[in-house]
């Protein structure tokens, strides 16, 4: 009984303000980026040519993809184990486990990056502790390199990996596991042949989500990379604020947005953002 014609006008009026604001102050600025990428410094696809000719552009994309893949893989692995443990916990314990996932999810990225610097830098708590314990006699370089970036990014992504996988696992009827055991499957057999395949849609959704988030990440790589390892987002900032090369920065931003939207379109059936944010508790 969805309203038609004149009955619908009032409901459209509710949508209108958000739609207008979103169009005027979100979509328009994004489209402007696209426009800049093909008009500055001179009209044409010159900026996009750099994708094939510039070694530095290719290196940044390569670094971003490499870090994205490693981050996604590690976050999925840790996230799956954690989600599995949560799914098997009792209702009370589940609430505590979930809190341990949700609190980090909502803590400021900046605060988390700062905390990692405190822990991992040369005079940081980890190095001091290891030195004092006599495990090492030279401080390890744990931060301001790719290792630091991955530590920080995985930390950010694990909650995003857990939530879609957990909601997929919660939809698995526990009786099918009992049935598998009852039909003679071992514990490992029941997991590999029944649980894992059933939870696979959640794994794919989590993978897509984590991967697209990690592609455009700015703060964590900027702080924990120490300017030595450049990812796409920081490279864009560099082009625009420091080198004033708008066309190039806008081109890379456009590539980033298109890559993310294309990935999402391909997997759109599996990724449900609404489910992700509705899953808290």
């Amino acid at each position: 009984m969805s309203p038609k014609g004149r009955h619908a006008a009032g409901w459209w009026a509710l949508i209108l303000p958000a739609f207008l604001l979103m169009t005027a102050f979100y979509v328009a600025p994004i489209l402007q980026v696209l426009a800049i990428s093909v008009t500055e410094p001179s009209p044409g696809l010159g900026n996009y040519e750099r994708l094939f000719t510039s070694e530095s552009v290719q290196r940044v994309i390569g670094t971003t993809l490499r870090i994205g893949v490693v981050t996604t893989a590690v976050a999925l692995l840790l996230g799956y184990v954690l989600a599995y443990r949560i799914a098997l916990a009792g209702p009370r314990a589940q609430r505590w486990w979930l809190l341990a996932v949700l609190v980090p999810l909502w803590i400021s990225v900046l605060v988390r990056a700062f905390a990692w610097v405190t822990l991992l830098r040369r005079q940081g708590l980890v190095n001091e502790g290891l030195l004092a314990a006599g495990v090492i006699d030279q401080p390890l370089s744990l931060v301001w390199n790719e290792f630091g970036i991955i530590i920080g990014m995985v930390h950010y992504m694990v909650p995003y990996a857990v939530l879609p996988m957990l909601s997929a696992m919660r939809e698995i009827d526990p009786r099918v596991l009992a049935a598998a055991r009852g039909l003679g499957a071992s514990r490992t057999g029941a997991f590999l042949r029944v649980f894992l395949p059933l939870s696979l849609p959640g794994v794919i959704a989590a993978g897509v989500l984590v991967f697209i988030f990690s592609l455009g990440f700015y703060i964590t790589p900027a702080i924990l990379g120490g300017g030595k390892t450049l990812m796409v987002a920081e490279w864009i900032k560099l082009q625009i604020l420091d080198l004033i090369r708008w066309g190039l920065g806008a081109m890379m931003a456009t590539v980033l947005v298109v890559a993310i939207l294309a990935t999402l379109a391909v997997f759109s059936r599996l990724v449900n953002l609404r489910r992700l944010f509705g899953a808290g508790g």
Binding site: M1, K4, G5, R6, H7
Partner: protein, 372 residues
């Protein structure tokens, strides 16, 4: 609940199409002032769509809806002033019973004192005055139904629309609330339009029933008229049970006769020569053992054997296999039944000339609808 007498509603060729699917085909109906009309039909027959068009939630694709002669087709639901009891009641769970009932008055910005008085009167009417401060979730199904009624009536609506008002209740409670609903209708004298798929409910509550199938209004009439003189096979079968006898019609001194194989069945009414269909209610047939019983003094007598039977408490349902007319269902009262049913028992069936009525095949109704 005083005020002016009921209002009359009229549907003129009202239709609803969703793309290629036609939910309602040109329905024309009159609801007289103060009448209790039931729209009866199986699910998907279009009865709820008609009610929703009357209420204003669904816009007709064609046709007009008139209230006391005034065209209200374009009026949104909130400006029609119709009371409605929704399927499942749709009580507001975050409001108390009194707040629920006060809602229609609140939206009309009625002064508080007047509002409170009306709410109390409405709750009195449905005997729920003691539950004013409860939440709907703290009430039984029957009580919730009565809150929905009070809420629909409190603002003196022109019409009361009921969408399967009793379907969520168990059988016993349903019978009880049917009585109450009937009494309420008599007391307040408003027009009620009720939608149901329950034929017993329709028979016991309504002044008139409109029977629907596949979006067509098949027949409108008083419960008795529909039961005794169904126009089509569908109506005869949906309202109660019926045997159907198909054969060649021929004229007969007292009405008409139907020939099928070696059997000749007489009935009232007329039918043009050619194929015709008779409807015969199972409870209008007399059944006696074939041997050792007095001859049957009925207009129609056929012989057969009992093929199956079951005991229903009030009676027996017996299926008799006859050589010429096929299987015929018979209802016998169990108390002092003239036969002890047994499979294979040879029996004689008899019925009078006025027991059977000529009905039309449903296909004969369809072209009229498809043309619309």
């Amino acid at each position: 609940m005083s005020g002016p007498a009921g209002h009359a509603l009229s549907l003129q060729g009202v239709a609803k199409r969703y793309g290629d699917f036609t939910a309602v085909q040109g329905a024309t109906l009159e609801v007289a002032s103060g009448e209790f009309l039931t729209l009866l039909g199986p699910s998907g027959s279009g009865k709820t769509t008609i009610l929703m068009m009357i209420a204003g939630f669904v816009e007709p694709s064609a046709g007009r809806i008139l209230l006391d002669g005034r065209d209200i087709t374009a009026l949104p639901p909130e400006r029609r002033d119709f009371g409605m009891v929704f399927q499942g009641y749709a009580l507001f769970p975050h409001m108390t019973v009194a707040e629920n009932v006060a809602f229609p008055l609140r939206v009309r910005r009625m002064a508080r004192a007047e509002r409170d008085a009306k709410v109390r009167a409405a709750l009195d009417l449905v005997q729920l005055d003691r539950f004013a401060d409860r939440r709907p979730s703290q009430l039984s199904g029957g009580q919730q139904q009565r809150v929905a009624l009070a809420r629909a009536l409190v603002f003196d609506p022109a019409l009361l629309l009921l969408d399967e008002p009793l379907s969520a209740l168990d059988k016993k409670l349903r019978a009880e609330l049917q009585e109450e609903l009937k009494a309420l209708h008599r007391r307040i004298g408003r027009s009620f339009i009720n939608v149901t798929h329950d034929q017993e409910e329709a028979l016991s509550l309504s002044d008139r029933i409109a029977i629907l199938n596949h979006g067509h209004v098949m027949q409108v009439g008083s419960p008795e008229a529909l039961y005794e003189r169904p126009a089509t096979r569908f109506v005869a079968d949906f309202l109660g049970k019926s045997n159907f006898i198909e054969g060649e019609a021929e004229p007969d001194a007292g009405g008409m006769a139907l020939r099928r194989g070696r059997a000749r069945v007489v009935a009232r009414g007329t039918a043009p020569a050619g194929r015709a269909l008779l409807s015969l209610r199972p409870e209008k047939i007399v059944l006696l053992p074939a041997e050792g019983a007095p001859a049957l003094a009925e207009d129609n007598v056929v012989e057969g054997r009992i093929a199956a039977w079951s005991y229903l408490g009030t009676g027996f349902a017996v299926t008799v296999e006859t050589p010429d007319l096929g299987a015929i269902r018979v209802h016998l009262p169990a108390w002092r039944s003239p036969v002890a049913p047994a499979e294979g028992l040879a029996v004689r069936l008899g019925w009078s000339r006025d027991a059977a009525v000529v009905v039309a095949e449903d296909a004969a109704m369809a072209p009229q609808g498809h043309a619309a």
